[in-house]
């Protein structure tokens, strides 16, 4: 079961990656400014998914939309990992009281869901891809701190760390050579799940007009456009949604599959 999940997840993630990569070099038509087609055309050759309300090819826009989705995912997961993992490892080595203070701070930080933080930041700094990426990344930092701290605590309690310490290895060396490699799989699972969350958050923000700005296509803003024409062409509201769902499903399955591979005991439960 977990192998199947992992494979299906990999296929879906690869599909999104290929869409994004291909669209960098080639799309059937210009996704941003080519408005030469009849508006709101139903799916028919050469517009396999039809055209939007400005007469742009929907399939081309869907391909380019994969770029926004991946870029936001990679950057926000990157922010969360780079800030959260070192902070978590350091927290694991702090005295109990200081560690407790950090954990309570992450509790408070977790009361700011990604979307709320992004809306708050958009209200202050203005909406856009950068604000969205930073907000989604920052909102995920507490989870990475928790995962890294929990992982680091169990590694630090092991005999080989004791051995390394008695040989005179510094904290930094131990963190680099023992803690990091051992918690990397845990972090990988968290990254995959966070990636799925980031795609959902970016889509919601773009739908609200606070994420990727026009004319750059994003799946969320395509759904917003579709809503204004749902009486005449309801299919417009279908394609971007399927794209989001497949991408999120891919990263969720990848995360689940990875976790099951790492911990066979969980296979039965999850």
């Amino acid at each position: 079961m977990s192998r199947l999940q992992l494979r299906l997840g990999l296929v879906l993630v690869a599909l999104v990656a290929v869409m994004a990569l291909v669209s960098v070099f080639w799309t059937p038509f210009d996704a941003l400014y080519n408005t030469s087609f009849p508006r709101l055309r139903p799916p028919e050759w050469p517009n396999v998914l039809g055209t939007d309300r400005l007469g742009r090819d929907v399939f081309s826009r869907l391909l380019v939309g994969a770029q926004s989705c991946l870029v936001v995912g990679v950057i926000s997961v990157g922010i969360a990992t780079l800030l959260g993992v070192p902070a978590g490892i350091v927290t694991a080595q702090l005295p109990k009281a200081a560690s407790e203070v950090v954990m309570r701070a992450t509790d408070v930080a977790q009361a700011f869901p990604a979307l709320l933080l992004a809306i708050l930041l958009a209200g202050v700094f203005g909406g856009g891809t950068v604000t969205a990426m930073v907000a989604i990344g920052l909102a995920a930092v507490p989870q990475f701190i928790r995962i890294a701290r929990a992982g680091a605590l169990s590694v630090l309690a092991s005999d080989y760390v004791l051995a390394a310490r008695s040989c005179g290895s510094s904290r930094l060396t131990i963190a680099r050579t023992h803690v990091l490699p051992n918690i990397a799989p845990l972090v990988g699972v968290q990254a995959s799940v966070t990636f799925a969350m980031a795609i959902l958050a970016e889509a919601a923000l773009s739908y609200l007009g606070l994420g990727t700005q026009p004319p750059t296509p994003s799946w969320g803003s395509m759904l917003k456009d579709a809503q204004s024409v749902w009486y005449s062409s309801p299919l417009q509201a279908v394609w971007p949604g399927i794209a989001i769902a497949l991408a999120v499903l891919g990263f969720n399955l990848l995360g689940d599959g990875l976790r099951d591979l790492l911990d066979p005991k969980l296979r039965e439960v999850t």
Binding site: A105, A111, I119, V124, Y207, L208, V269
Partner: protein
């Protein structure tokens, strides 16, 4: 028991201070002087200074923070810079809308998730169980606002059985109110139920391997009977935690769903003033939402003690 509640209240109060400080500091980063922005480029230095004094923005940050917090404790969230209206007056009418949307969504998602999650646990090796898990996995990947758009198109535009959007207050027309909330609640609840089903399933799989379940089966309880009699209370400990997290994500999801269905809730208010960059309204509404999330977390922790008597005796 009392010690637990007291300690939890202390943590809750500290969290509130931390959260309010974070929100206030972020909002201070807004570029530009509100007085200057309000009056425009043509205003003289005296006019701007007078306006700043009127708004209170010429006072030190610490004074403004304390004034804001002290006001909130009295239910006064300050005054909108742009419209000059009391923020609490703006928030008040939106609360029943968002409250009803979030509350009913949570209720409906539990009503859907509990039976399906238990089915998925009991029949986890049969096709029914696998099918429920697979549907839940797909459901988790669907953005609630897309579900909302699709439901709105199907029920509101194609079949015309429910209004595709808009809101009717309860006091105006109770049936119209229920009809206007049906689709938004369903959109939020279906997606949340998908997440919940997975937790219900794993909580009940744990129960299935417990001794008390085996004993109950041995003395003649049916599988469902044993689960309902002994499983629900034991599983509810982990489920309450999830429900707390769920309510937080439902509140945030409601912000987006309100846009899909044009509901005059807290989310719509927030987004209107985000576009106008009106800090007082933004920080008030965000604080209220964060307060709700923190309060739910605190209540969840206190409820452990109520659900599980073992935790009560362990404290003594």
């Amino acid at each position: 028991m009392i010690a637990t509640v007291a300690r939890r209240l202390g943590v809750f109060a500290l969290s509130l201070v931390g959260a309010s400080l974070a929100i206030f500091i972020i909002c201070q980063a807004l570029p530009g002087d509100p007085a200057r922005i309000l009056l425009g480029d043509g205003a003289s230095a005296e006019q701007i200074a007078a306006k700043a004094h009127e708004l209170g923005t010429d006072r030190p940050a610490i004074v403004r923070y304390l004034t804001w917090v002290a006001g909130m404790l009295r239910g006064d969230f300050g005054t909108s810079y742009a419209s000059g209206v009391a923020v609490s007056g703006l928030i008040g009418p939106t609360l029943p809308v968002t409250g009803a949307l979030a509350g009913f969504s949570l209720l409906v998602s539990v009503v859907i998730a509990l039976p399906f999650g238990m089915l998925a646990a009991l029949r986890r090796r049969r096709w029914e169980g696998v099918a429920v898990s697979a549907v839940a996995q797909v459901g988790m990947a669907i953005p609630a606002f897309w579900a909302g758009i699709l439901l709105s198109i199907l029920f509101g535009v194609v079949w015309r059985v429910l209004p595709p959007n808009g809101y009717i207050p309860l006091t105006t027309d109770p049936i119209g109110w229920a009809r206007s909330l049906a689709l938004p609640v369903l959109a939020l609840a279906l997606v949340q139920a998908a997440v919940l089903v997975r937790y219900v399933r794993s909580a009940f799989i744990d129960v299935l391997s417990e001794d008390y379940y085996r004993t109950a089966r041995a003395v003649g309880w049916s599988r469902w009977g044993a689960l309902l009699r002994h499983g629900v209370r034991n599983a509810s400990l982990s489920l309450v935690t999830v429900l707390g997290l769920q309510l937080a994500s439902i509140l945030v999801g409601a912000i987006v769903i309100e846009q899909v269905f044009v509901l005059p809730g807290l989310g719509s208010l927030l987004l209107t003033y985000v576009r106008q960059k009106d800090v007082m309204v933004i920080q008030g509404v965000v604080m209220l939402l964060v307060l709700a999330v923190l309060l739910i977390n605190a209540l969840v922790e206190v409820s452990y003690v109520l659900i599980d008597p073992r935790l009560r005796t362990a404290e003594r």
